[in-house]
Structure formats: structure tokens, C-alpha cells
Symmetry: C2
Amino acid sequence: MTATPSAPLFDRLVIIGPGLIGSSILRRAMLDRGIARELVASDIDPKVCERVRELGIADRVVQDAKEAVRDADCVILCVPVGVIGTVAAQVAPAMKPGAILSEVGSTKVSVINAVLPALASRPDIAFVPAHPMAGTEYSGPDAGFPSLFENRWCLLLPLENTPPDAVARISAMWEAMGARLRTMTPEHHDRVCAIVSHLPHLLAFTICGTADDLADETRSEVLDFAASGFRDFTRIAASDPTMWRDIFLNNREALLEMLDRFMADAQAMADAIRKGDDTIIVDRIARGRAIRRTLIENHQA
Amino acid sequence: MTATPSAPLFDRLVIIGPGLIGSSILRRAMLDRGIARELVASDIDPKVCERVRELGIADRVVQDAKEAVRDADCVILCVPVGVIGTVAAQVAPAMKPGAILSEVGSTKVSVINAVLPALASRPDIAFVPAHPMAGTEYSGPDAGFPSLFENRWCLLLPLENTPPDAVARISAMWEAMGARLRTMTPEHHDRVCAIVSHLPHLLAFTICGTADDLADETRSEVLDFAASGFRDFTRIAASDPTMWRDIFLNNREALLEMLDRFMADAQAMADAIRKGDDTIIVDRIARGRAIRRTLIENHQA
């Protein structure tokens, strides 16, 4: 389905939670009116609503979510993964028949399990889970920008009973945002994201804590001498705490499995260093370089 | 001591190992002839010597280290930390009386222990260990650039018997390179660098290996979907294997101590996630943000 000036993809698109991701969708859709004729933003926090009004990135701002979704043909939940189920339960009864419900959470199995009960009595609503893999370490409505999704992946996780037309419309929206699409199962999604994104964030938060626990003198020097290694970790570690707490708790199983593998590998590296085993050490370092090279070839670095 | 056009800081400055760091020193000194009247480069690898000649970043290139250091008033060893002792033993007997020997290794206790025996019969040589905390993930003579040390820290680790005049001259050289100076003990240096730089590199190498060990299907998707978290880790992990193997082995004690602390903290985070303990998770994330804020205030981020 292609958007044309005479027929936008959606008549009324509602963004619940206009933070980094939500406000970036709004900003892009404000620039491309082929995405939606009317853009509505809603947030539980009146200060966020006020800020979205000031920024002028929505046609209407409606604090009450149930009221905001009325007559919308598409509602996208851009709230932390820990509350997606609750918000879905709030808005589903107020949505019009045949409307699309989507979300942009960073975890999928638990989010889908949390949303499905809310839709049990509304089989007419098409649920299209999605995950745009884009972001920065900043959060809130001021952090968004219209090109955030340009050339980034957006993963689609349609359920067995998701109507193909709804998937096509959500796909067309993300393509209009500049994203590249890939479809996979929720289980596979959670494992891939655990190693690619969730575990690196966990390690970055942890090393900042480890440094913070050092004796006062060393800690102040850690801050003074943060070379590129540590500095890169703190950039990752600057992300939003609520969002990441929810991600860790909601992707618990896959994340803990990847952390276990990582800890075993780190222990093997420690043993090799203790024993002075050159071969293992160089092999690990060489693998890092090989992966880096592949990323550069894939234009991901 | 200030360099003036009529009296350069050194008459003949020799760089052994013109890689990323060594060739950056040469490049900067070529632009600022107040640092040395004559710049000599030496490398065990004839291809590196040839490349330095092609780049034109030294006045003379002499492959044989013993010959290169003849009549030099300052020799800086820019070789991997694992061979600094060996190279010091090679060049010390050929150095002129009263000359300065310096090095730029990323670890200090083991490097100093390896160099001291080479100087036992040459008490007239002034040994000034130093560590310019600058670098990129690239290596070799082509990787250097003259502004590499601009506004970066250079740590000085003078020994008890290092003549103050030699420390002053090495300090003046690094200041001329744009670096900021700090003096500390070798032991303290090794602990600070273990947490700030060596442990982050070890973690980055390890997570690349962990990802590489995943089942084929997941691995290829890891490469496809490397979001910012994992991508930042692979940048760190792209560094030179020999250099990092040597750093890990030469800062074994401090590194393994920091790794132990980190592993205990990561385990605590895993337990908190398993138990759903919000408070601990949010506390760790908040610390990461706090450290990041301090780095930004310190202009290190």
C-alpha cells in the first residue's frame, strides 16, 4: 500500500507516549502528510502533553488515552515495555472497530503476552507488534528527530491471526519513515536483541557501578582519565532507567541466558590471562576484529 | 623548559616502533621543529620502515635499533608492552651517556620491572616512563595523526632516581604535543587503567566472542541488527591483538582484580533481574547516568 496525497495511510494516527521514539514518529509524520491526515499525541504526564503542544509536533494533544484513541484507525503504544499491557487494556475498549493497535517495545514475548488479554474481547482490532531498532541515549519528547529511523531496521512480529492488510499498512508506515523491514518470531527477536542490545547495556551499567564503588581516590581519577573504552560504555549507560529496568525484567529469560554465556566466556578469558595462555587471548581479540569487519562491510558500523 | 627555534628540546629524538602512537609523535614533531632537530624512526619490520620513508614523517629511518639510537639524546620506545624490556636491553648499551630513555606503554609496573635490569649497568641513562592516554582502534604507521595527543592526558611515572631535568624535558615534549600532564605511581596507574581502559576492552572482546559462538542463524542476525549498544563494543574490539594481549598479560593483577569486582556486580545485577528487584536494577542504571553526567561536566565525553 502506497501513500498518496489524496489518500494518507491513516486518517487518524494516535501516538501514546511521545518520548524519543513516539515524538520521532510524530516529527516524521508532520513532514510527510501521506502518513496520516491527523496526528494525535497522548501522555499520562501533563508536562509531556504541554511540551508536545509547545513543540507543535501533533495536530492534537489529548491527555486521556481513552479519549485520544477515539475514532483512530491506528494507535501506536510508545510507552515503556513494562506498562504496554496496562495501556493496551485501557485503550482497547475505546478503539473503533477494525482499528490497528501497534507498539514499539524492545522486548516482544512478554509484551505480546501482556497485550493479548486486553484484546480477548476485541477480535476486530488488528495487533501488529513492531520494534524499530533505533535510538539514542536521550529520552523524552525533546529527544526525537524526524530522521531517527532512516536506514535503521524495523522488526515486525505479526501474530498468526494478524490480518495481512494491517501488517501491510504498518510496514508502509515504517517504510515511509525510512526504515528497513524484517519479519521474525517474538522468541527469536528476544534472543537477538538480548545479545545485540540488552546485554551490552547491562554490561555498561554494571561497569559504571563497579567504577563508582572504587575507593574515592581511584574513582575521581577514573572520571579524569576515562579513555575511549570507558567513555563509550558511559554513553550507552546514559539511557533512560525506567525503560531499561522494564526491558531487563521483560526479556529476563533470553537476557540471563546470554549473560550466563558471556560470564562463562569472561571467566575463560580471565583464566587464560591468569595462565598466560596467549592463544586463547589472541583468538578472542581476533574474533572481535572479525565481527567488526563484517559490521563495516554490512554498513552497520 | 621551553622549546625555542634556536634550541630545540632534543637534538636527536628516536622513535622505536612508529605505529599509531609513535608515528603520531613523529608527525607532530615534524610540524614543530622546536621538539627535535632530527627525528629518527626505527622498526624491526622492514615494511614499516619502508612505509615511514614513504610517508616522510622522519628525517631518517634506521631499521637496526642499536644503530638508530646512536648519539640520540632521547629514545622513546613505542613498541607493544610485552617487548619493551627486550628492546630496552637491546638499545641501552648503544645509547650515549646522559641520554633519556622513555616509553609509552599502557601498563607500568611490569614494564618498569622489565626495563630496569637493562639499565642496571647504565645508571647514567635517565628512564622516564610515560603513558599518553590517547588512541583509536586503528594501528600501524598510517593510523597516526599530529593532533592525537591534543587535550588528552599524558601520565608520567618518574622513578625515585629519575633526574628532574629528564622529567622536565619529557614533560615539555608532551606539552608541545598538546597533552595535559599528571604524575602518579606505577601501581596506582595500573589500577586506574585497569578499570578505565583494560577491563572495557576485555569485555568488548568477550561479548564479540559470545555473539560469534551463537547458532549460525542468530549470529547472522546479530550482525544485521547490531544496534548502537553492540556496535560501540565492536569499535573498541577492533583494536590491535598483539598490543592488547600484551596489556592484559602485563597488567594481569590489577585487571583480574577489576574483572572479579565486575563479575560480582554483574552477578548481583543478574540476581536482581531474576528476582525482579526493581530497586537494585534502577540504582545501577542511575549510577551509570551519574558517571556519564560527571564525564560530560569534566569534558571527557
